[in-house]
């Protein structure tokens, strides 16, 4: 398991109450599941990094799980599609699959942006 924290995390989040307000959250815990260094996984990681930098202003931690090395970890988070981004904290757990190239939908998936009525194709 590799740890790739974009910015050193300022301590653990005390408030574990599920909330959608990003201001109440100290740290975002994100986990990206990939299988090897594929084009899709590299793309996903790059996209994730960019989005986090832009929208989470450093209050996040990304953990990358390579299932080729640790296949037994896939069952825990019910991973099926790759790459999959799991938002461990704040709760509830959310999953975003794909290479995260659609920023808007990533933001919706992370609950950083309200879900739009009509999804773009």
């Amino acid at each position: 398991m590799k740890e790739m924290a974009g910015v050193p995390a300022p301590g653990k989040a005390e408030d574990k109450m599920p909330t959608t307000s990003k201001r109440a959250i100290k740290t975002w815990e994100l986990r990206l599941y990939v299988a090897g260094q594929t084009a899709k996984s590299l793309q996903a990681f790059a996209n994730l990094k960019r989005i986090c930098e832009e929208h989470l202003s450093g209050e996040y931690r990304i953990e990358i799980v390579d299932l080729l090395q640790n296949p037994q970890l896939a069952a825990g988070d019910q991973i099926l599609a790759l790459p999959t981004l799991v938002r461990k904290l704040p709760e509830p757990v959310r999953k975003i699959i794909g290479d995260l190239s659609n920023t808007e939908r990533v933001l919706v998936g992370l609950d950083l942006q309200p879900r739009q009525l009509g999804r773009e194709s």
Binding site: Y33, A35, K40, Q43, A44, N47, L67, L68, P71, Q72, A74, A75, Q78, I79, L80, A81, L82, P83, T84, P92, V93, R94, K95, I96, I97, G98, D99, L100, S101, N102, R105, V106, V108, G109
Partner: protein
């Protein structure tokens, strides 16, 4: 031109011996209809509606593989968790947690909640492969169950990706040489709702369950099996306490061995009607008749005789309880209880409507396998009609008879013919299936109802063609000659009366003869007396005549003497010894 049947046979053997490797499932009957199991190293699609037993079939495939063939299995469950699966199949005696502990089985529950998943760009299902690959590697699995992969269609938005990935998955399974069962829900007009059959074309098995008159019957059909022949029909199957049992019809073979051994019917007079020796061992005997003609009693005799010889009998009763049969048979002097106590007789009494036909057949199979009888009684087979249609019943009976014949078990089946029916026709039209057919019938005459018995057919036996009257006495069944006379066929009291009449007539004529003989004697005596009297008369007359003759002779002699004396006295003659003597004799001769 060869007939099609042997051709299929040779083809089958060729394939089994030659090409396609198969994987025994261990499921009763399934390996028979697929002629050796599922295609090894390939995926098989098992489809059917809800509740038809897809998951169970798949789980049994894995469990049998793990326990009987040393082939560990992986279950990717998309619907149920491992715990749920374990408790679901626990009732079949499958201990999943134990198998998991012994590394014979791995269950991975895959769950997708669409509402919690956002799709953002390109992805694949590599994690599915990773998970499956990990599970397979961890226990060295040879078998895989995907149950049911179609759940993914509800969990993922991008169907194009999903389809491509499924295609890749099935390819992957083949490459890893994993024998796989993929389950799929039956669609409207397709085998599966999402067209999985498009990707899985090696072997497709369709499960189905139907309710006919409140009785459920499960059926299985091998829709296709690439590179192999297989049973084409719909085969009924059961989910029983020890798993699935498919019941293939084995009748197409007709290869059972036969015995020349004969066994007594239990009624000596009936043995005589069967050429003196009774039934053939291993044959099927049908006893038909309207109600109350003594069918059960007749079979009880057979059972009694068999048990007395030390043979085991299984009695399947669909109308009466064991106790009732035993009580009733005691009234005709047959004690079946002692055979039950000795363990030679086993009663299985159950209402036919308790469960479906297949269940009955499986129960019978099971009991026969466990108890190992040489004689089986089904009383009555028509009872099974209540559990299914005539067609199904007939097919079940056919399979039952074949099964029994294959095991060299003598089977006696009774059938009830209703009064309105043609007597020589059974309700399930099974006459052609049996080897011997005894017909019991009522003969109504003179205001009473009597029982008659005759042998309608007996394959390979020179049998009597006579109708006999049969009586149920305190000492069992007795067969009587039926009275055939000028007044037609007489039975019961009429026969007794007629017999009495005959007896008195015979007595009368005997007396008449005696009288006549006496008369003759007397006449003879009278005539004898007459003859004696006449003889006496004759003798008297003779005597008298002789006396007269003597007197006359004397007279003549005297007269001659006198004349001579007179001549002498007159000196007319010379002397008594010269000349005159001749003339005298000459005169005498003239007289």
């Amino acid at each position: 031109m060869r007939s099609p049947k042997p051709e299929t046979k040779t083809k089958t053997t060729k394939i089994i011996s030659g090409g396609l490797p198969k994987c025994l499932t261990g499921i009763h009957g399934l390996d028979e209809i697929t002629l050796g199991g599922l295609p090894r190293g390939r995926p098989t699609l098992v489809c059917g509606g809800a509740g038809c037993g897809k998951t169970l079939l798949g789980m049994e495939f894995l469990v049998r593989g793990a326990t009987e063939f040393d082939e560990p299995g992986v279950c990717l469950s998309f619907e149920e968790t491992a715990d749920e699966l374990a408790s679901n199949v626990a009732s079949l005696g499958f201990d999943l947690p134990d198998l998991i502990k012994r590394k014979k089985l791995a269950i991975d529950h895959i769950y997708l909640e669409r509402s919690l998943i956002e799709e953002t760009g390109e992805y694949d299902l590599e994690a599915l492969f990773v998970r499956l690959g990990h599970a397979v590697d961890s226990i060295g699995a040879k078998r895989v169950l995907l149950d049911s992969v179609e759940a993914l269609f509800a969990g993922l938005e991008n169907q194009a990706v999903l389809r491509a990935e499924l295609r890749r998955l099935f390819r992957w399974l083949k490459d890893r040489n994993l024998t796989t069962i993929v389950t799929g829900e039956r669609g409207q007009n397709t085998l599966t709702r999402h067209g999985l059959e498009e990707y899985l074309s090696d072997c497709v098995i369709l499960l189905d369950h139907r309710v006919t008159e409140t009785v459920l019957t499960r059926r299985m059909r091998v829709v296709k099996y690439r590179g192999s022949t297989h049973g084409m029909n719909e085969y009924p199957f059961l989910i029983e306490s020890d798993g699935i049992s498919v019941l293939p019809v084995t009748s197409s073979d007709l290869k059972y061995g036969v015995s020349n051994d004969r066994i007594s019917t239990g009624v000596p007079a009936l043995d005589t009607m069967f050429g003196g020796d009774g039934y053939f061992r291993g044959s099927s005997i049908l006893v038909s008749g309207t109600s109350g003609t003594g069918k059960t009693s007749l079979t009880a005799h057979f059972v009694n005789a068999a048990c007395a010889r030390g043979e085991k009998c299984a009695f399947f009763s669909f109308e009466e309880s064991a106790d009732q049969i035993m009580r009733n048979m005691r009234s005709i002097g047959i004690d079946l209880k002692r055979w039950v106590d000795k363990g030679l007789l086993y009663f299985h009494s159950v209402r036919p409507t308790t469960f479906g036909l297949e269940m009955h057949l499986v129960k019978i199979h099971k009991i026969i396998k466990e108890f190992g009888p040489s004689i089986v009684v089904v009383d009555p087979v028509t009872g099974l009609l209540h559990a299914g249609t005539t067609f199904e019943t007939r097919s079940i009976l056919l399979r039952l008879i074949d099964f029994l014949k294959g095991k060299q078990i003598t089977a006696v089946m009774t059938t009830l013919t209703s009064g309105s029916n043609v007597q020589e026709q059974t309700e399930v039209d099974m006459s052609s299936l049996v080897d011997a057919w005894l017909l019991l019938r009522d003969i109504e005459s003179g205001g009473e109802r009597n029982r008659g018995i005759y042998i309608l057919k007996a394959r390979g036996v020179a049998h009597s063609n006579q109708i006999r009257e049969f009586l149920l006495t305190r000492h069992g069944i007795e067969l009587r000659e039926i009275y055939l006379g000028e007044a037609g066929m007489l039975t019961g009291s009429a026969r007794v009366t007629q017999e009495a009449k005959d007896a008195s007539a015979a007595l009368l004529s005997r007396q008449e003869i005696e009288r006549k003989q006496l008369l003759l004697e007397r006449k003879r005596k009278a005539l004898d007396a007459q003859i004696a009297a006449l003889q006496l008369d004759l003798e008297t007359e003779e005597q008298e005549s002789r006396q007269l003759i003597a007197q006359e002779k004397l007279k003549v002699a005297n007269w001659e003497q006198d004349r001579e004396a007179m001549a002498t006295s007159r000196y007319a003659s010379k002397g008594p010894h010269e000349g005159n003597g001749r003339s005298t004799s000459a005169r005498e001769g003239r007289r």
